[in-house]
């Protein structure tokens, strides 16, 4: 019962930006998006993923984002991002603070990750670099004790993303390499590769399609396929 209350409270907290977005429709950049995806990896096999993301610009210097993913692989993610930002003569400098909880229910493990990074966003390129730390704990929670928590205190996060057109355009295609996305923050030596695009149907609706590839062994120097995901969805901008 306690667990259900906790999950409900966290879900409510994370969806709060979406609710706020609906009651404050003045700014056109508030948005909520829904995505579904097919994924596969060598450990879980095939799976379907369902995502809800909410984006909330507080003011011109600060925005927030909340992400929820549930998967048929029985791995579920809650994440929130806080992003102070500063406009520069060219582009925008920002700090991204991510908190993410990932429940690998199927394997009875849970991790809590914090990542903070410095980013520079331009029309064609987005670059981010920073650090993360992770706490791994076995489930169920009754196993919790100091000994049961495994702390990975320092790791690096990075993201390099290039767009074929300026980001303000109505359609775009992007290529990206990063060890983090809205639903997973991997270790430093585990990059993931992304190819994605969007198309603005009208002022409010944007459709997105993206693919992700995860290799194993890149830094064991015998790289090969580990997993992939194809994801499609729509975003509504208020």
């Amino acid at each position: 019962m306690k667990k259900c209350v906790l999950i409900f409270a966290l879900a409510s907290l994370l969806l709060a930006p979406a609710a706020l977005a609906q009651v404050q429709p003045g700014d056109a950049t508030y948005s909520v998006s829904l995505h579904a995806g097919y994924g596969h990896n060598l450990t879980y096999g095939s799976m379907a993923n369902f995502d809800i993301d909410a984006y909330l610009p507080i003011n011109q210097h600060f925005d927030m984002q909340a992400n929820i993913r549930t998967s048929t692989a029985n791995v579920h993610t809650l994440g929130v991002q806080l992003r102070p930002k500063f406009a520069l003569p060219v582009g925008e400098l920002y700090v991204e603070d991510r908190l993410m909880m990932r429940f690998a229910q199927r394997d009875n493990y849970h991790d809590f990750v914090h990542a903070i990074s410095l980013g520079y966003m331009m029309q064609y390129v987005n670059v981010q670099v920073g650090m993360s730390n992770r706490i791994i704990t076995p489930l169920p929670y009754t196993n919790h004790s100091e000994d049961a928590m495994i702390l990975e205190p320092f790791d690096a996060v990075y993201r390099v993303e290039a767009f074929v057109r300026p980001q303000s355009e109505s359609w775009n295609i992007s290529l990206c390499v990063s060890n983090m996305d809205n639903y997973q923050i991997e270790r430093m030596w585990q990059p993931m590769f992304y190819l994605g695009g969007w198309y603005d149907v009208n002022e409010h609706w944007r459709v997105r399609l993206s693919g992700k590839m995860k290799l194993a062994g890149m830094f064991h120097l015998n790289a090969h396929y580990y997993g992939a995901e194809l994801r499609a969805g729509a975003e509504y901008r208020f």
């Binding site: 394997d107 991790d111 702390l151 991997e186 585990q190 890149m218 830094f219 064991h220 015998n222």
Partner: protein, 301 residues
């Protein structure tokens, strides 16, 4: 603009230079393997290992005593010299309670280094490092052992990278050692299934201890792991759950070059120090397999 182009071209030459120097006859890093592995994938290596296991069977080794010793080393990275490796061999040969030794991978360092192993087999008293000979060395496949298409040479020398063996004491008590191949940073779907089936079978037996041996470590807990890669997170949790839920008492691994002991539920995960010639503080581990499993680390001169 001109400066940006100069910086860009400079970086490009630096990267290309690194790649080309890594492709020479004495290359120590298989940079091409970062993007397309030159050895077979883990699923194919596993199939080859199973073919050998099917023919040769799984070894049962007789222990000289109820409380016997297992000598464990890792990351020797043999390259041109092998003094520490030889010291280790002499140490376990001098221990009458030691029926076997385990090498946790990265036996050699890079391309051409299997030549040093073959040379050792021919010229040095290490005349028998194969499992079927009196010196029973149980080898784990490490990532350095398969760089530069070297899987073929690993198989030629050590036959299999996924197997188990049983050690039986004079009173009939049995210990199970499960060796799995993590040299790619993933153990693959087929080997994962085999590992699951093996551990489920082991639970139905009456093993005194169950020990798992592999190369890649699970966690990234300290600065020593800055240069070493792990499993994907999905696989980390799946393997942790599998091993801890099926009575594995200890997991021995290497790869990190630095000792680390982590307790996960009832399983002790031990990363053993490296024994490279360049290492300032090389150690190996001596495990006492009795009613309890106890271990100590021994410095190598």
């Amino acid at each position: 603009m001109k400066k940006n182009i100069q910086i860009g071209l400079g970086s490009l030459f630096l990267v290309l230079g690194s790649i080309f120097t890594a492709c020479g006859p004495d290359a120590r890093l298989d940079m091409v393997g970062m993007f397309a592995g030159s050895s077979p994938t883990i699923d194919k290596r596993f199939e080859q290992s199973m073919e050998y296991n099917k023919q040769a069977g799984y070894a049962t080794i007789q222990a000289p005593s109820e409380n016997y010793h297992v000598y464990v080393c890792t990351d020797t990275h043999i390259h041109q010299t092998r003094k520490r490796w030889e010291h280790f061999i002499n140490a376990y040969r001098g221990d009458k309670l030691c029926p076997l030794t385990v090498h946790l991978g990265d036996i050699i360092d890079a391309t051409t280094d299997f030549g040093y192993i073959e040379e050792a087999l021919e010229q040095h008293p290490l005349t028998a490092i194969l499992p079927t000979k009196p010196d029973t060395l149980m080898a784990v496949c490490g990532n350095h052992d398969i760089y530069f298409k070297q899987w073929g040479q690993f198989v030629k020398t050590f036959k299999t990278s996924s197997y188990y063996f049983i050690v039986e004491t004079p009173s009939g008590a049995k210990d199970l050692f499960v060796v799995y191949d993590s040299a790619d940073g993933t153990i693959g779907s087929k080997q994962l299934q085999w590992l699951r089936e093996t551990l489920v079978w082991a639970e139905s037996q009456t093993f005194r201890h169950i020990i798992a041996c592999t190369h890649t470590h699970f966690f990234k807990r300290d600065g020593s792991q800055g240069h070493t890669s792990n499993y994907t997170l999905e696989e980390t949790y799946a393997l942790l759950n599998l091993l801890t839920e099926h009575g594995v008492e200890m997991l021995w691994s290497g790869h990190d070059h630095s000792r680390e002991i982590t307790q996960v539920k009832d399983m002790t995960c031990i990363i053993v120090d490296s024994m490279t010639e360049e290492d300032d503080e090389p150690y190996y581990m001596v495990v006492s397999m009795g009613g309890k499993v106890e271990y100590e680390f021994v410095a190598v001169p």
